[in-house]
Symmetry: C2
Subunit: 165 residues, 2 copies
DNA sequence: GTTCTGGCTATGAGATACCTAAGTCAGCTA
DNA sequence: TAGCTGACTTAGGTATCTCATAGCCAGAAC
C-alpha cells in the first residue's frame, strides 16, 4: 500500500463486506448538508462576516432563489440561526449567524482553502488567512490528541474503538 | 462580529466591491473538482485503499458509469494517476492511485469525517481514525506556522501578503 | 394612501448528477 | 473458436441545482 493510504485495522473484514457503508460514514453524512457548491459558498461568506440575505446572495455570487434555499436548508440543519433584529427607522429583519455546529466547519473550509492555494493557484497567492496575534499563516493540520503532527502513513482506521479522551 | 467569524484586514475594501470574488477564491476553485458527492466518496475510498475500478464503484456505492466518470475527471485533474499493472495469468489492468495533489486532500476529508462524527453521530461513534504509533485519535486542527493552535476568533484574512515562510 | 425598498418567493428552463439496464471489448481459459 | 470475466461505455430516464425574470409583502417615508 502507498504512503498516502490509511491503514485499516487488520481485525476488520474486507471493506466490500461492510454493511451500511455510507450510512455509517461520517463523511457521507456530512455531505448530506454540503453536497452543493452553493452551500460551501454560503458558509464561506458566513465566516467572512455576511449576516443578511442580500449579502449572502451578492458575495457568494449566487442567485436569490438559491441563496434563499441554501439559507433555509442550512438553518434547518442547524448550521445557521435566524435572529430577528431591528435597526432604528427600519422594519424587523433576520440575520443569519453561524451556530457552534456551523462554526465547527471552519477546519474543513480552511483545509479546502489551503488546498486550492497550493494546487490551483500555486505560487500566485491571492489571499491568506493568518493567526492575528502572531501574523503567521494558518492551516488545518492533522494532529493527534497527544499533540503529535501525524503524517498520512501513520493513520489507522478502526471501528468501535475505546477512545482515548 | 461574532467569535466564529474571520477578521477582515481593515485595509481591505468592503467585500461587495471585490472583483472576481469567486475566481480568486481558493475554496471556489477547489470545489471545481469536488463539487459532487461521488467525487468525495471516490477519494474516500482511495484513502481507504481502493485502487481498482470495481472497488471504487462497489465500496463507494455508486453506479459504474458514475465511477468511470469520476475516476476520469479526478485523473484528468491530477488527483489520481492511472498505473497499468499485470497479475500473473491476467491481462493488463489499470489501478488508480492518489498523487501528491490528491493525497493532500486528506486534511479536508479528515475534517469532514470528524465534523460528521461530532454533529451527526454525536456520541454514537461508529469508527475512528487514530495515530498508529500512539493510538490517539486524530483531527484536523487549525494551527499557524509557529505551531500555535488558533481559535476561530484569532483568524485574520488579508490579501497579497508577504508570507512568513 | 401611494411609493419605495429590502427581503424574500414563484415560475420555468437549462445543465448536471445520478440511476438501471444493456452493450462492448480485450484477453485469458477450455 | 467459443465462452467468460473484468473494465468500462452507451442509452435513456429521473431528480437536483442553478439561473433569470418577475412578483409579493411589510413597513417606513411622504
Amino acid at each position: 500500500m502507498s504512503a498516502s493510504q490509511i491503514q485499516m485495522d487488520p481485525a476488520l473484514p474486507p471493506r466490500e463486506s461492510w454493511a451500511d457503508i455510507n450510512d455509517d460514514c461520517p463523511i457521507f453524512q456530512s455531505l448530506g448538508v454540503l453536497s452543493t457548491r452553493s452551500a460551501f459558498l454560503v458558509l464561506r461568506e458566513a465566516f467572512y462576516g455576511a449576516t443578511r440575505f442580500d449579502q449572502f446572495a451578492q458575495r457568494a455570487d449566487i442567485s436569490e432563489p438559491v441563496a434563499a434555499a441554501r439559507l433555509k436548508e442550512l438553518t434547518e440543519a442547524g448550521l445557521l440561526e435566524k435572529h430577528p433584529y431591528r435597526e432604528p427607522g427600519q422594519r424587523t429583519r433576520n440575520e443569519y449567524v453561524l451556530t457552534d455546529k456551523g462554526a465547527d466547519l471552519l477546519p474543513t473550509l480552511l483545509a479546502l482553502f489551503r488546498w486550492g492555494e497550493r494546487w490551483v493557484f500555486g505560487d500566485g497567492i491571492r489571499a491568506d488567512i493568518a493567526h492575528a496575534s502572531c501574523g503567521a499563516s494558518v492551516d488545518a493540520v492533522v494532529t493527534c490528541e497527544h499533540g503529535h503532527r501525524v503524517p498520512p502513513g501513520e493513520l489507522r482506521f478502526r471501528r468501535n474503538p475505546a477512545r482515548a479522551s
